[in-house]
């Protein structure tokens, strides 16, 4: 069991000794039970930090934001930035380093093991009729503070599927780590939803996806929350994004309009499939895209499909090692090719 105070002490210590310029972590939000991301820069703020089953966010997104900001201001800060990272988040950081987005020494990883637990799903919680103001870990349980007093539930009942299926709930890449390494734990069979879905025939699958993609409102929350979607220019915005004083009229005029802005099925599906392809071998299943979707599009199915394909066909694990090549920039002599004529 992790003592939250240890995390706060670690952060405070790093800031006091000036070893890092800021700590990216979680704090309590103003609107209810959930944690929210925070960037603290003074030792006094360390007590704001929290660690509980609502720490959903993959904070490595803010490492990307930080990098973009530094590039924009042409600032070389010298000291690293620290980040509180779960197992999945740490794998995301590894992918970013694999892609040379930043260097290892520029990040200080405060690893948090999920041990035998994981983050909760608000919808599952609501289905249990619990309206809580606070949530906390307690071994295999979650404990909630509600208007009717303390409520306890086995974590498995409302835990996120991706956490139930997670085999490596431990940040292997870290500077310090809190909690035990429970690698190999089995709370649920991986890719369970994917397997169930693939039992349907192609016609049913299309009918399913048609309904999902029709619903997309193109708020781009999935893209915005994803640490891997760091491109300066996305195929979706290729008309107006981003120009600077050096961009020539030719460049702007000749940009291909891959996808229209209209939120209609054909454009939505092109967007989501393109995104799934761009995440192949990079997505570490933090599932933030699905969590933030206001219209419940099951994006995890798409990402899982790519992940399993990479694992089973190419033996590829995303975020396993900083030195590993990217999935689509490498190959094996015996890659499948039966489909080729």
């Amino acid at each position: 069991m992790i003592n939250i105070q240890d995390m706060r002490d670690t952060a405070r210590d790093l800031l006091t000794k000036n070893e890092v310029r800021a700590v990216i972590g979680y704090r309590r939000s103003s609107s209810g039970m959930n944690a929210e991301p925070v960037v603290i820069t003074t030792p006094e703020q360390a007590d704001e930090l929290v660690w509980d089953p609502t720490c959903f966010h993959n904070l490595s997104l803010y490492l990307v934001e930080d990098r973009k900001f530094l590039a924009h201001t042409r600032n070389n800060p010298g000291r690293p930035i620290a980040i509180v990272a779960k197992g999945c988040d740490a794998r995301a950081i590894v992918v970013l380093m694999q892609e040379h987005y930043f260097k290892r020494e520029e990040v200080y990883i405060i690893g948090m093991s999920c041990e035998g637990s994981g983050v909760l799903v608000e919808r599952k919680l609501a289905a249990n009729g619990i309206q809580a103001t606070n949530a906390s870990f307690d071994g295999d349980d979650y404990v909630f503070t509600t208007a009717q007093g303390e409520k306890r539930l086995p974590a498995r009942e409302i835990m996120a599927d991706r956490c139930l299926e997670c085999r490596i709930p431990y940040p292997r890449e870290h500077n310090v780590v809190l909690g035990e390494d429970k690698t190999g734990r089995e709370l649920a069979e991986p890719f369970a939803a994917l397997k169930r879905f693939e039992e349907r025939d192609a016609g049913e699958r299309w009918i399913f996806w048609e309904r999902q993609f029709d619903r997309c409102i193109r708020c781009f929350a999935c893209r915005s929350v994803c640490p891997m979607c760091y491109c300066e220019e996305c195929v979706v915005d290729s008309i107006s994004f981003p120009v600077n004083a050096q961009t020539t009229a030719e460049e702007k005029a000749n940009r291909v309009r891959w996808i229209e802005r209209s939120a209609v099925r054909s454009e939505n599906i092109t967007y989501h499939l393109t995104r799934a392809m761009h995440l192949a071998g990079r997505c570490i299943d933090c599932n933030e895209c699905e969590r933030v979707c206001p219209v419940n599009i099951p994006l995890r199915l798409l990402n899982n499909k790519m992940e399993r394909e990479a694992r089973e066909q190419f033996g590829y694990e995303p975020g396993a090692s900083i030195g590993a090549p990217a999935l689509v920039a490498s190959f094996l002599d015996n890659d499948p090719e039966k489909f080729i004529r």
Partner: protein
Amino acid sequence: MSEQQAEVTTDYEPRIVAFLCKWCSSAGSDLAGVSRIQYPSNATPITVPCSGSVSPMYILSALNKGADGVLVSGCHIGDCHYIEGNFLARRKIHLVKELLGFVGVEPDRFRMSWVSAAEGAKYSQVIKDFVEDLRPLGPQKKLKADRS
């Protein structure tokens, strides 16, 4: 309804967008032409530097813009002008194919082949087979943009 089906089988000509690598498959298609090998004119060839340079975006975009089928064709394994471009294509295209099938697009709408510069006959066969396989599927409407 039966009238419509009849229309599909008689008037429907599948439109194929074919991404051909400039070193092998494009030359192969030229050879088919100069050798006067008969094959259907359903494919619109787009020459690309290498099959490895075909972005999944091209494939999705072709389907979005109304292609009934998409072909990616490159040099045989071991013959890539850029040494490993077709190895990379093989992996990438596998993923695209899986993803399209996963969302319920008919697997026969998308195809990959290795055609060398000497294989004019093979190129014509690939196109013939593709057209025949596409015909029963009817027009591709799933990913095609409806901009009414």
